[in-house]
Amino acid sequence: MNRWPLLLVPSALLWLAGVLAPLGFVLRLSLSSSGNRAGEGRYDTLFYEPGTWSFASFVEIFTNPYYRGLFAFTAALAGVVTVLTLIFGYVLAYAIYRAPMPRKIVLILLIALPKFTNILVFVFGVKMIFGASGPGPVIAGEVLMLVPYAALTIAAALEAVPYPLIEAARGLGASAAMAFWRVTLPLSLPGVLAAAILTLLWSASAFLGPYLLGEPAQYTVAVEVDRQVHQDLDWALAAALNVVLLGVLSVAAYGLSVWRRRLA
């Protein structure tokens, strides 16, 4: 008898306790009234009013231009990072695709290598090369962090494109560039979209990069959530920010995956 569903139990428990339960808590929190937030250190400080129901935090997010600007900036940053990551990732993936066998493995290992670096060491490296803080280092840091994932995802899709297809295109009169445009690129597009989903989700919820490499002008929604939790102590607002971000990203990811499924 095949009892494979039993093997799902550990991850299901972990997922329930580690993802679904906190998510439910955040959802409930976002619909609570803010606390009195009378001041740090005061014994009766409330981060939120337990047991209350309120849309106030959402109203605040959708009406206050500060938050609209914050979301617009986060989206723009995610867009720029995703496009750059896909371009660099594709070029790298293509090198892996065309590399002969032993060198292919070496390349894949080299791509994974930066992931063994401590994130702070990595961040200081980025600061030294791209500048101490500002939009430049934020974008560079995010792209550098994400390119390996994009490259490996796209490389997997490229490996499924038989090279004789490209030769066939050349034989039919296509230049190398034309064969790429008409054959290789369309056939690897599902991999590109998978990488786009990964990169977009990651960069839109970026926290460490903007926080450690940016100035306040480059702070993202995630940084604002942290500020609300730890400084302004408005947990209801922090939770609502999270819920809105989650909603926007779910719609974007769903759209991309529908597009991807239609290609495959």
Binding site: A168, R170, G171, L172
Partner: protein, 236 residues
């Protein structure tokens, strides 16, 4: 039509093709016959520009095209697994070569329909390769190679992936089509029956060397070496 003059090609330590000289006449169908690894596919790839020889000359239609890229050759090739573009319909596959030549859309569609019907493929133009049988895929690959009106047709084991009935039918169709278009063709195969049934002349290859080039009848009457006799299954 096609001339190999002293062509050699090595991959690392392996010599795939050793000093091969061959001459294909206009309208001729020549089979290159030999066991796997004998260098026959490499020779075909050199004719198509997919591999460049280490030494020697390749002439097509009198022009030295030894180092020309595939797209600069006007040669049609049918790959062993057909190499149809899976994201395009059969018609789009066939039109690809015309599109690369900037043939206007109406003419493209007309030519594609014409060659598809010539290949016995009416009504399947809108299907993707995955929805076609092996024999149909084979015909699409052939139509795609022929629609560009190549001066030379290269066939890499064109019948290897077909079942017995399809194979016998395709043999006949291939021969008829090639004769009708009067196009010179090279067919690479490891199957002596295909070679004997289809070719005007057969070049038998072994270990990178052409052992004998003869008509099928001559080959069977006077095999030049023990290898040729053995490979054809003839008693000595």
């Amino acid at each position: 039509m096609l001339e190999f003059i002293g062509v050699s090609k090595s991959f690392g330590a392996v010599t795939a093709v050793k000093n091969v000289s061959l001459r294909l006449e206009p309208g001729e169908l020549m089979a290159i016959l030999g066991p796997s690894g004998c260098g026959k596919t490499t020779l075909l790839r050199i004719a198509g520009g997919y591999d460049t020889p280490d030494s020697g000359t390749v002439r097509i239609g009198g022009r030295d095209l030894t180092r020309a890229a595939p797209e600069a050759r006007q040669v049609g090739m049918v790959f062993q697994n057909y190499a149809l573009f899976p994201h395009m319909t059969a018609a789009e596959n066939v039109e690809f070569g015309l599109r690369m030549r900037r043939v206007p859309k109406p003419e493209r569609a007309r030519k594609a329909a014409e060659i598809l019907s010539l290949a016995g493929l009416e009504g399947i133009g809108e299907r993707k390769p995955a929805a076609l049988s092996g024999g149909q895929q084979q015909r699409v690959a052939l139509a795609r190679a022929l629609v560009i009106e190549p001066s030379l047709l290269l066939l890499d084991e064109p019948l290897a992936n077909l079942d017995r009935n399809e194979r016998l039918r395709m043999r006949g169709e291939l021969r008829t089509l090639q004769r009708r278009l009067g196009i010179a063709a090279i067919l690479v195969t490891h199957d002596q029956d295909d070679a004997l049934a289809l070719a005007d002349r057969i070049a038998v290859m072994n270990a990178g060397v052409v052992e004998q080039v003869s008509t099928p009848g001559e080959l069977q009457r006077n095999p030049a070496s023990a290898f040729v006799a053995g490979f054809l299954g003839l008693a000595e």
